[in-house]
């Protein structure tokens, strides 16, 4: 089995980052989902985000 195929052989468990409406429909379909309360990093300052991303790597 190709490794990618694991996705279709396991129950789907979703982490939702962004638009929260997507959780509603997943829940309706009985899918386990956790919503991340996302905010733009560093208050949206793109230079600072670049620096933070590099640090995280």
């Amino acid at each position: 089995m190709v490794k990618e195929a694991e996705l279709i052989h396991q129950p789907m468990k979703v982490i939702n980052i962004g638009i929260d409406s997507f959780i509603e429909s997943l829940k309706e379909q009985g899918v386990e989902v956790i919503h991340v309360d996302w905010r733009p990093p560093a208050g949206g300052d793109s230079r600072l985000i670049d620096i933070l991303d590099k640090l995280e790597l």
């Binding site: 190709v2 990618e4 279709i8 939702n16 962004g18 997507f22 379909q29 991340v36 309360d37």
Partner: protein, 526 residues
């Protein structure tokens, strides 16, 4: 009494466009409020506000990361109450999420602590942040469904190369839909489970094919989205090939449908070699391309999305296949077309397409190009059909209002009808407009009652045309199933009730629009 327009900028605050749309709608219903908009202060949103007279000097300096409140009132004293209301609603939206989702952690890491078996991350943050979030998810071993657009092709390549090495999928960017094991992600329809697997570099393409299959009684095993650029030579079809491998191995899948814009020449060649080795039949629809793919006797190339669905049905049922021009008898189709075009005034002659789905917009452009000399689109299936100014339609013109330029900081037109309603009236005012062609896309994620909200505008636009002594013909196809939350037959009825011509597929709607706009001239070429 003159209206007072005020712009208020809440710096460095963020809320997603859907929640802001809900708040705007509620605030618009407040007493004494003429107009109100609460949006992220993107360039696009500021342009739209300017067009509707809601942008004043103090708002011009707002930046992408600010929330922008524009309000028009008769009594200046009302403004503070409106702002208080909006603040309160923003708080309430935050609480709504808590009620729905339970505790919402602030980071992916905390979410994974709560759900260590998570296997997919659905990411829909604004484009400039999307790559970083997607890479974080991949590094944690999650497959990624990347709904966000405005992601560069270089970022896409980096994500997909890394994912491929790890045996993970990146569906996207700009991936609107997927159906995995019967679970619909983002904009997906409720379709029957069955033997057809779909790989689509085109969101509404997947929706059109999966719903036509399901409505014909044949179900879908899995439907993967790849993002629109996956088969370009720069990406080389990384995700599409991964998905084809999954479906080839999947015992539930008997026939595979692959939908995309025409692949890059190198990718087409490589794909041909790949398809020859596959054991299962593959139906291809490349919106505009039919010749450069060769895959032996198990590969079937179709002209339209409807053709792809019907071809898959015939393969499953082992029946002969014939692509239909219209489901209905030709004499009835011609009669219906005539009843529309006989009411036109002299100048009316063009089709104006206002789409929420890019693939169906592109398909319609291609169909129209077969019948009329000049058609352009912002989703051109061929370079020479590119629209010059996407804001102003000239001759036959089809616009995908879900394209990135119309959605920065705004909800998609499948959810938020505002931009399409504005454009609808703009087209209706053009004396040369004969037919407005629409898609109404149902399913999870989409507006709960798009037919109703469009109906007001359709009626207004039709009456505008009547006052000029003409007639506005509106042709639509509803992409969806009876099992969808919005129920297809109910949406169709609402549109029929305001005089819309409903066709059973997008391809048929485009042909009908061409037939009506040309006053039946093309009937012998159908």
């Amino acid at each position: 009494m003159a209206l007072i327009v005020k712009n208020i900028i809440w710096q460095k605050r963020y809320m997603d466009s859907l929640r802001l749309m809900r708040i705007s709608n509620k605030a618009a219903a407040l007493e004494g409020v003429e107009k109100v908009a609460v949006v992220m202060a993107t360039v696009l949103n500021k342009e739209i506000l300017k067009e509707v007279g809601l942008l004043v000097t103090e708002g011009a300096g707002a930046s992408n990361d600010d929330i922008f409140v524009a309000v028009a009132v008769e009594d200046e004293n009302r403004i503070q109450a409106v702002l208080d209301f909006i603040e309160e609603e923003m708080k309430r939206e935050g609480e709504r999420i808590k009620d729905m989702a339970g505790y919402a952690p602030k980071s992916l890491e905390s979410a994974l602590e709560m759900m260590p078996q998570a296997n997919l991350s659905l990411i829909s943050v604004p484009g400039q942040y999307a790559k970083a979030e997607a890479m974080k998810a991949l590094k944690k071993g999650l497959h990624v469904f990347l709904f966000s657009d405005n992601v560069t092709i270089e970022e896409e390549l980096e994500l997909k190369k890394y994912a491929e090495e790890q045996g993970l999928l990146v569906m996207g960017p700009g991936c609107g839909t997927a159906i995995i094991n019967g679970v619909g992600l983002a904009f997906a329809n409720v379709v029957k489970k069955g033997p057809v697997g779909i790989v689509a570099a085109a969101g509404t393409g997947l929706q059109e094919v999966s719903t036509l299959l399901s409505n014909a009684g044949v179900g879908v095993s899995h439907g993967f989205g790849t993002g629109g650029r996956d088969l370009s030579d720069k990406i080389g079809g990384i995700t599409a090939k991964q998905c084809l491998r999954i479906l080839e191995e999947d015992p539930e899948t008997e026939v595979i449908v692959l939908i995309s814009k025409p692949p890059g020449p190198n990718t087409a060649q490589e794909l041909s070699k790949y398809l020859v080795r596959m054991r299962k039949p593959v139906v291809l629809n490349f919106i505009g391309l039919s010749s450069t793919i060769e895959g032996g006797d198990k590969v079937f190339i179709t002209k339209t999305l409807e053709g792809a669905a019907l071809r898959a049905v015939s393969l499953i049922r082992n029946e002969a296949f014939q692509e239909k021009v219209f489901t209905e008898e030709m004499s009835k189709v011609l009669q219906l077309a005539e009843s529309e075009y006989k009411k036109f005034s002299g100048k009316q002659r063009y089709v104006r397409g206002l789409y929420s789905g890019g693939t169906v917009c592109s398909e319609s452009t291609l169909i129209l190009a077969d019948f009329v000399p000049t058609v352009t689109s912002n989703m051109p299936p061929r370079a020479e059909l590119e629209m010059k100014d996407t804001k102003v339609s000239v001759a036959h013109a089809l616009v995908d209002l879900g394209d990135e330029e119309f959605t920065v900081g705004r909800a998609h037109p499948m959810i938020d009808p505002f931009v399409r309603k504005q454009r609808f009236l703009q087209e209706a005012r053009d004396p040369e407009t004969a037919v407005i062609l629409l898609d109404v896309v149902l399913g999870y994620g989409s507006h709960p009652d798009m037919a109703r909200v469009l109906a007001d505008t359709i009626i207004e636009a039709k009456s505008l045309k009547e006052k000029e002594g003409g007639y506005l013909s509106v042709v639509a196809s509803v992409i969806g199933t009876e099992e969808d939350p919005q129920k297809r037959s109910e949406q169709e009825k609402k549109l029929l009730d305001c005089g819309v011509v409903i066709m059973p597929s997008n391809a048929q709607a485009a042909r009908m629009a061409a037939l009506i706009a040309t006053r039946g001239e093309i009937k012998n070429r159908l």
